[in-house]
Amino acid sequence: MLDVNPYDYDIVLKIKDENDIAVSRQMAKNFAQKNNFSLADVTKIATAVSELARNIYRYAKEGYIYIRKKEIGSDKTVAIEIIACDKGPGIENVELAVMGGVYNIRAEFGVGFVWHKEAHGQL
């Protein structure tokens, strides 16, 4: 598991049952709103967290989501860092999964992943 110090983060969410997906979505939404993100960004962030939480619940049963505010670059652009952490089975071929190779199995599962890469630059 990734070495993350929970004290560095503004929000730490434990994902253990299905209800936590909706809770994490709501928390992420509030956090983004509080940091003055636009409505479009708030929705995207909440959706991303929702997808991550679902992946944790589905494939690893339990895990954590860490969220914090970050200032990047010299102009101190405000960003939100989201880390999803679990001890799941892992993805055999990350490149394939991110490229949309999982699409065929059941349409909706691949979609979340592809988008995370685009929106956040990394998995």
């Binding site: 299905e18 709501q26 939404k29 959706t47 929702s50």
Partner: protein, 119 residues
């Protein structure tokens, strides 16, 4: 009826479903079952799902909604989703989510017009 997660309104042959609750996975699956039951029990020819109060629709929720539309279609019932918020539309489109089997309308009036035209 037991297991009703969303209160619905029957209007002529149509069923109006205003979603005003937070949709989690279990709820949306219950909603699917509820709608299918209501189609057969109330002899519904068209379903209108109003999501104007829903702030976040992720890939699974949209998948279940369009899956429901596919099931309803098999039962001879059209499904129209209306009132998708701009930010939600933007997010869904950028995620590459496509709503299959499901018609979309701007608002409730448009949705009813659309169903009238479909028959």
């Amino acid at each position: 009826m037991r297991n009703r997660v969303v209160p619905t309104i029957k209007l002529y042959d149509y069923l109006i479903v205003p979603i005003q609750i937070e949709l989690d996975d279990a709820t949306v699956e219950k909603l699917q079952l509820q709608l299918l039951n209501e189609i057969s029990e109330k002899n519904i020819k068209g379903i209108i799902i109003d999501v104007s109060m829903v702030d976040v629709i992720d890939s699974y929720i949209s998948f279940v909604l369009s899956e429901t539309a596919g099931m309803a279609k098999a039962m001879g019932c059209y499904t129209v989703i209306c009132g998708i918020q701009p930010a939600v539309a933007l997010t869904l489109a950028q995620m590459g989510v496509r709503l299959r089997d499901i018609f979309t309308a701007r608002n409730l009036e448009d949705a009813i017009d659309m169903l009238n035209n479909l028959e």
